[in-house]
């Protein structure tokens, strides 16, 4: 039986498997981006009344930094039965001029990373239950696709 793929958090990214994007809001006056998306108010103090629209963020960015965690985090992290170290990336989006966190897609060797390594957004499994596969955004090294 195929499990239903659902986002692990609603409204943070598109579920398009070929061209997934993070969902953000953008001020119509200032062009400022906000992630995660917030359409209720602008946090740019220069334009407190500006309207906001939903936009998608650039799919590609460059590594700002990264770290590999070797200890199992506490709940609400849903750890697999056997804990495996995982890598968290901070990625700079040149167009949006912001840094966004995300996990490194499985299969890549963190030792191959350096500041400036180009990565792109993909979808991956965060955890599963009997009926669902909960999906999260991940960063994958460009030209180094996971097998």
């Amino acid at each position: 039986m195929t499990k239903t793929r659902v986002p692990a958090v609603e409204g943070w990214f598109t579920m398009d498997p070929d061209d997934p994007r993070l969902l953000a809001s953008r001020g119509l006056e200032t062009g400022s981006y906000f992630f995660p998306k917030n359409l209720a108010f602008s946090r740019n103090p220069a334009a407190p009344a500006e309207e906001l629209e939903e936009v998608t963020l650039s799919r590609r960015g460059r590594v700002w930094s990264w770290t590999t965690n070797h200890y199992e985090p506490p709940a609400p992290y849903v750890a697999p039965a056997v804990f495996v170290p995982y890598t968290v990336l901070a990625v700079e989006l040149p167009e949006e001029q912001m840094v966004v966190l995300g996990p490194l897609a499985p299969g890549a060797d963190p030792a191959s990373l350096s500041v400036g390594t180009e990565v792109e957004l993909v979808l991956g499994t965060l955890y599963e239950d009997d009926d669902h596969e909960y999906v999260v955004w991940q960063w994958q090294v460009v030209g180094g696709e996971a097998q």
């Binding site: 958090v9 930094s65 070797h70 901070a90």
Partner: protein, 396 residues
């Protein structure tokens, strides 16, 4: 002009994993500070408590909790929560009332009892709380952020894991003789390197533990100090509790992203730089005036970041400062003579107050074996989640 208040008394409960109620620790620290000041509790006019979020309702109303524990006597009360910066925010409340002439003498106190292991978010399904979501979606513990900063130093400045380990070696040596420190044991670079990786490149001995502990201050107007015959007290010249300026371009706990700098120039100073800068402006002093500093070494590498953020050196020069011995007791400007968080572990609401206690002891010449000789000016710096700055400048 500089407006100052006096530090009449300081007190702490030793840091550790004692497993008792946080109120007990707070009472010990408060009574020690009162005795140190020679002030009767019943004469204190204002109690400023730093809150703890992990001990139920009494922790959310810490000011009243401690006032009750010490015995109701009708003092005014305030309770502050600003995560790691709570102690500075409580001190800021006391200072504001004293400088406004609303009260003469105040107690500032913070205490915590912490669970073992990673600090975790509050329980429940809270899908709109970034502090909950960062654990759920990314497994982004606090050390995850410390690891990102540490790796960045390696990549940008050529820092090495050995540099980071030497911060631990220094702080362990500093804290060795501190009766309030939890870990009083010298540590070698080899022991650091042999400890397990937590958030690469940081190892277990490089990340601060969570501790129980308490710290308290008795602060007053300069006139009140004079009326008690204290003509040359340790003075607080500045308390900075600034928030970031938009856009905040450094990724911070518990956020998923920085602000966007699209179409808007980043501020002249980044958030961390601005915390100490605001304090220097208030005090009319600068980094060259410092004789010592207590900085928030949540990780070894983060201590090096702070050297630059408080202006001890330019970006990228912190490793040289460390390796030249400038920040060791006996050096040009000792950093974390207390032993820092590396020797204490973190008792969140007590920590910023403990930093002030340590500097006060040095300015009085009462820091024992770890005394920074001739200290006249000291700075404490710290940062709380969601954009709470914390910096205090003391002088004698």
């Amino acid at each position: 002009m500089t407006r100052e208040i006096a530090v009449l008394g300081v007190g702490m409960h030793p840091w550790g994993k004692w497993g008792r109620n946080f109120v007990e620790y707070g009472v010990v620290a408060a009574r020690e500070a009162l005795a140190d000041a020679g002030v009767d509790w019943r004469d204190v006019q204002l109690v400023c408590g730093a809150d703890t979020m992990r001990n139920g309702y009494p922790g959310y109303v810490a000011g009243a909790t401690f006032a009750q524990a010490l015995g109701w006597q009708g003092a005014q009360v305030s309770s502050s929560y600003a995560a790691c910066a709570s102690g500075a925010t409580a001190l800021s409340a006391a200072r504001a009332q004293i400088l406004a002439g609303l009260c003469d003498v105040a107690l500032v106190v913070g205490a915590d009892t912490t669970p073992k292991g990673f600090l975790a978010p509050n329980a429940g399904e809270r899908g709109d709380d970034p502090d909950w979501l960062r654990f759920r979606l990314l497994g982004a513990t606090n050390p995850t952020y410390f690891g990102l900063y540490a790796r960045r130093r390696i990549e940008m400045y050529g820092a090495t894991p050995a540099d980071f380990a030497r911060v631990k070696v220094k702080n362990a040596r500093h804290g060795f003789s501190n009766p309030y420190a939890r870990y009083r044991k010298e540590v070698t670079e080899e022991e650091v390197a042999a400890s397990p990786l937590v958030s690469d490149p940081l190892r277990l001995l490089e990340i601060c533990a969570t501790s129980d502990g308490a710290a308290a201050l008795i602060v007053s107007s300069l006139d009140y100090a004079k009326s008690r015959g204290i003509v040359d007290p340790v003075r607080i010249s500045a308390v900075s509790t600034v928030t970031p300026s938009y856009p905040n371009t450094l990724i911070d706990m518990p956020s998923f992203s920085t602000d966007s700098a699209y179409g808007v120039a980043p501020p002249e100073r980044g958030f961390r730089d601005s915390i100490a800068h605001a304090a220097y402006e208030q005090a009319g002093l600068g980094p060259d005036d410092l004789d010592l500093a207590e900085v928030y070494d949540l990780s070894t590498a983060l201590e090096l970041d702070w050297y630059e953020n408080i202006g001890l050196c330019k970006p990228g020069e912190a490793e040289r400062l460390l390796n030249d011995g400038d920040t060791t007791i006996g050096g040009r400007v000792p950093v974390n003579p207390s032993g820092g968080l590396g020797s204490f572990g973190e008792a969140v609401p007590a920590q910023a107050i403990a930093q002030v206690c340590e500097v006060a002891w040095h300015l009085r010449g009462a820091a024992g074996e770890r005394q920074v000789e001739g200290a006249r000016v000291g700075l404490t710096v710290n940062q709380g989640l969601f954009g709470h700055g914390s910096c205090v400048i003391l002088r004698k």
